[in-house]
Subunit: 99 residues, 2 copies
């Protein structure tokens, strides 16, 4: 089964657009690292909340992606724009449209 991850991050006030741009710039390159889907969503109810939904070939490939130099660089740039409030939920993908 593919590995799913739903992660949320809270940005400092007014910094959401900047963080979204960083995430979107990183997304396309993930395809070569076992990522099938990396969708950046804006919480409708909270102007400083981002929710990313991801599908990976495996949990191992997801974990490995966080050690890529480009990922470390993106994280370093984004981190000062975030409050430090994160949530994460791991899923086993059963299937569906677009899975």
């Amino acid at each position: 089964m593919a590995h799913g991850y739903i992660g949320s991050m809270k940005t400092k006030p007014g910094k959401r657009d900047e963080v979204v741009a960083i995430l979107l710039a990183a997304a396309e390159g993930l395809r070569d690292h076992g990522c099938h889907s990396y969708v950046v969503g804006l919480d409708v109810g909270d102007p400083d909340m981002i929710v990313v939904t991801e599908i990976w070939e495996s949990k191992e490939r997801h974990d490995a992606s966080l050690r890529l130099p480009e990922a470390k660089e993106a994280i370093a740039v984004a981190l000062p724009l975030l409050t430090g409030e994160f949530t994460g939920r791991e899923l086993a993908i059963a299937g569906g449209l677009g899975a």
Copy 2:
């Protein structure tokens, strides 16, 4: 912007596979109703929890889909297998891989 929805539902003990089958059977037909993605995930940390991540053309099309006869029928079949604990989160989709 496309409309995203992350919904969780808790099944009665041992009923998750049955509910997943109902959701997967319904997923493919949603494509014709403005649904880009409908991914059924199993919470790794809870054997009775399902998390569905969805992307729709618009919130209006998502709302309308719940009034389709086939959706009402699927909901009627699944409902007795669920505890009634639901969560839902609405997103505006900024983009990303697979968005």
